[in-house]
Subunit: 354 residues, 2 copies
């Protein structure tokens, strides 16, 4: 198949880790007889430096023509003092919104050789395998008004959702649950928010269309507790944008290897943006020691979700797993009796296993 990919390295370690991912894409293409054209554009701080905007038009236009987008990471102290509208994160929020990438998928599953680094006791984290689905283009993130009022004596943000926005993400969640263990936990704050009560109504309505999926409702505060005390009880979790931001980051530290976690932000036609969950880590940028595996696993998600290349995705995931079993680890990980390697060496190891 021919696929067109836009690469957005972003800031900090973004360049190094997306370089690794490019090599993996090349290997998959030649191994499986595909053709991937890769075009690079700027986003975030790098785009501010070069174009004066965290999301220049040229980047948006390129992404609009892409089958999928791979992003490294954005942000860094250098741009922290800029006004809110000119901050690197605005590039990320902007591209999600411009492309309508409403469904953020975050699989949380540990690797046996890394679980010892979990902050949780082993019997608690053992067997956890969660897919968090977060609504990504609505709610408090984009509602208007979002402004100071009364000469700065008051301030307002707006949690706004259209019913159709809730319906499509909830549909996505039911469909994902059907491909996994038929268990969906919907998270809301229905005892306080009207938006949550509408959310809960829609989940209950939709559940009749997916009778094979068992549905639970959990309040966001209770979910934040249960992720820690009983993470293995979850299968698919679905929630709105802000709750999803908090809960998915909370969940991302449970397995003890944040640097390994991939994410996908997709829309209905399969176009998606893929990025590791970790940040731009400016403190170690340029040293060649960053962990490329979260980005490489994001490539696997791209192959699966945007290109329907399940076999290729599974091959990449297997190659990563084998590297860990062989004891290779970057500086952010620790494997007993393992071998500490650089970004480049880790990438080589994945290529060897592929």
């Amino acid at each position: 198949m021919d696929k067109h990919i836009v690469l957005l390295p972003g800031d900090g370690i973004g360049k190094e880790i997306t370089d690794s991912a490019k090599q993996i894409l090349g290997a998959v293409a030649s191994e499986f007889g595909h053709s991937f054209t890769i075009q690079q554009q700027e986003i975030g701080g790098a785009a501010i430096d070069q174009y004066g905007s965290p999301l220049p038009d040229i980047t948006v236009q390129a992404c609009q023509k892409a089958d999928a987008i791979l992003l490294g990471a954005v942000g860094g102290e250098k741009w922290d003092a800029l006004p809110a509208d000119m901050r690197p994160e605005k590039g990320l929020l902007g591209i999600r919104k411009e492309l309508g990438l409403f469904a953020n998928l975050r699989p949380i599953k540990g690797f046996p050789s890394l679980l010892h680094a979990s902050p949780l006791k082993e019997h608690i984290i053992d067997g956890s395998d969660i897919l968090i689905i977060r609504e990504l283009t609505g709610g408090l993130y984009f509602g208007r008004p979002s402004e100071r009022q009364d000469n700065g004596e008051a301030v307002v943000d707006t949690l706004y959702y259209r019913r159709s926005e809730m319906e499509r993400i909830i549909d996505k969640a039911f469909q994902s649950a059907r491909l996994r263990h038929n268990h969906l936990t919907s998270v809301d704050k229905a005892n306080v928010l009207e938006s949550s009560r509408m959310w809960r109504d829609i989940v209950n309505e939709k559940s009749e269309e997916y009778p094979e999926v068992a549905v639970e409702h959990e309040l966001v505060d209770a979910a934040a507790m249960k992720l820690i005390t009983q993470p293995s009880q979850f299968d698919v979790m679905v929630t709105e944008n802000m709750f999803g931001d908090i809960l998915s980051d909370e969940a991302s530290v449970l397995t003890g290897s944040l640097g390994m976690l991939p994410s996908a932000s997709v829309r209905s036609d399969g176009v998606g943006l893929y990025e590791p969950v970790h940040g731009s880590a400016p403190d170690i940028a340029g040293q060649g020691i960053a962990n490329p595996l979260g980005t490489i696993l994001s490539v696997a998600l791209m192959l699966r979700h945007s290109f329907q290349m399940e076999e290729e995705a599974a091959a990449v995931e297997r190659a990563v797993r084998e590297c860990l079993e062989q004891g290779f680890h970057t500086a952010d990980l620790n494997i007993t009796n393992g071998q500490l390697v650089s970004t480049g060496q880790m990438t080589e190891a994945v290529l060897d296993n592929l």
Copy 2:
């Protein structure tokens, strides 16, 4: 001193645990020469059953005349099907708002003999001692509009704060930090919300009035991670209502003994409502096996924060600690070689140590 306390047992185990607390208050009064008058009123499901409202006028009026209020817990399946405005939780939200109890204080500190039950590894939870301060009467919880729009095709909730509401809770947090380890973590989502940017501005302004307090800003998603990976790095944490709801519940499971945690909801003149963090546990109600210690420790907070009785508060806290050291535990706890006791026996044990 003469103090007037309103007791709101609420639902489920609420009656049993506030009965225990009443005995402790009696013992403190005679031990230290105070006079506490205690008047009982209904709230939550019990009030719905008796008065047709989760917060009847008679309860509000009684609370308005009180020096402090002690609450058990509200809620239960029995009332879950009622419309939102008639649910037990509305009683809790209503009394906070009616009395202007804007500062929710949640101390999170483990007990040595119970830490083994923490979901976290021992070296992670060790040494943690956090005070979470949550704004309790503003934000998404009370902002208007909170309604369906467009014939049910859309929905809106409103995150609204007045500057003065932010100022008073942030002041409270700085003052609390000064009484502890002079370290304040302010949690917001300033990269997305205008309300968070105003919040951050106010924290920075106020920090000049409290030069001895070191201030850190943390994004809410990062804070949700750090609570799990480095809980011992926090001293006082302050945040707005919804973020505080999520983070304080997340934090409450870290020590492994949710049943032990007290909370206070206070306003500037010292009037406060005190309640355990745990819920109404309808499944074990009436069996005499509930853990009364979260409520008894809430009494200690009442003595300290509403009555300025530091010595009395410390005595109650010491008595509770001694019970645990003696090995007494209720069914929700587990102490190696300890002795399983009932609600009444645990209360006796505290009284003996007092």
